[in-house]
Amino acid sequence: MLDKIGIAKRIAKEIRNGYYVNLGIGIPTLVANYIPKGMSVVLQSENGLLGMGPFPFEGEENPDLINAGKQTITTVPGSAFFDSAMSFGMIRSRKVDLTILGAMEVSDNGDIANWKIPGKMVKGMGGAMDLVASAKNIIVAMQHVNKAGESKLLTKCELPLTGVACVKKIVTELAVLDITPEGFRLLERAPGISVEQIKNATQGRLIIEGEIPEMVID
């Protein structure tokens, strides 16, 4: 079973040289730490930055320089600032190659729910609805089951949707899966996890074809 860092490491392997990538808050943010060395990747922060660098050294925090999670950050050579309309303009026009974000539920047709739980205080969707509605390629980092052991990979999302038919790939603590017209297609098992365990943890349509390899991380 993968921990958060394992999920981040596995997702990092999906990144290709030359990609512009938008990373959501939480596990997706960790992905930045595991981008293979030598690969040229530019991180977009939807509050208005291309070329996001690591956190600043202590004492060098700049209140004017934050990411979409409101964390203090730095830039890298070649970075550019822009306003929020241009930021979502480049998202809508599909210039961002890969969007990685978290989810509470995903359905087997690629619907995603990650912004609202009825009865709980709603904080807002931020940029998530814009991102999922436009992204060329969306990978979701999420837990396969909730704390009660119930699957979060469903036939149909129960929570209010963030976007429809948009997720392309899911990486959970148990597995890597693609979204296909026939449902979730199992690609890889987490180390030590059996196909049976994944079957049991998946409520939506699950396609298992041939031998399912164990993930290789690191």
């Binding site: 208005g48 964390q71 203090t72 950050i73 309309a85 599909r94 807002g124 969707m125």
Partner: protein, 236 residues
Amino acid sequence: MNKTVANAEEAIRDITDNMTLMLGGFGLCGIPENCITALVKKGVKGLTCIANNAGVDDFGIGLLLQQHQVKKMIASYVGENAEFERQLLSGELEVELIPQGTLATRCMAAGYGMPAIFTPAGVGTEIAIGKESRKFIVDGAEKEFLMEYAFDADFAIVKAWKGDTQGNLVFRETARNFNPLMAMAGKITIAEVEELVQPGELNPDHIHTPGIYVHRIFQGVDYEKRIEQRTVRKKN
């Protein structure tokens, strides 16, 4: 064409109860601190505030919430604000949540004289309820878009890094965010700047907001520029 006013109090002198205000900033980054303080002092009530976020309990728009000056908040994300949550749950505060890109583009639409724009954000979600939608061919495939209207705000209040007395503005780093968009969108636009300079001191190629969009400008004082999430790494 001198648009200089003495201070925030003078800049907001004619903002009255029940008006709609746009307030620049993303989180606490690039917010018009001086004008918010002046609005608290003036005590105007029943405001509709359009801003990406609602500040924190004791800073930013949170200060207006503390004094019960906000009737309605239009934002994309309102986390980390206990008083906000209390007022919302008690029914004292009305909230309209809007996707961040839609929020930004509805501001831009107002500044660009476009009455409405099309966006795919929110299609198939509860955001689409009651909204007109329309299909267009994009990259050879049919795709659905929502029609969203330009905002209509009495005042836009923005914060820039530098400005000149004619209202030309330059923003800095991610403190730019919604500020130039809202600057274009207000019926009256107020800009507070860290440094007010004379016409000709800003390079005309570096100006983000041309002065035509700005009606009043002043050099702010005592910027706190609070950091919401201080994240650092250690030197080795």
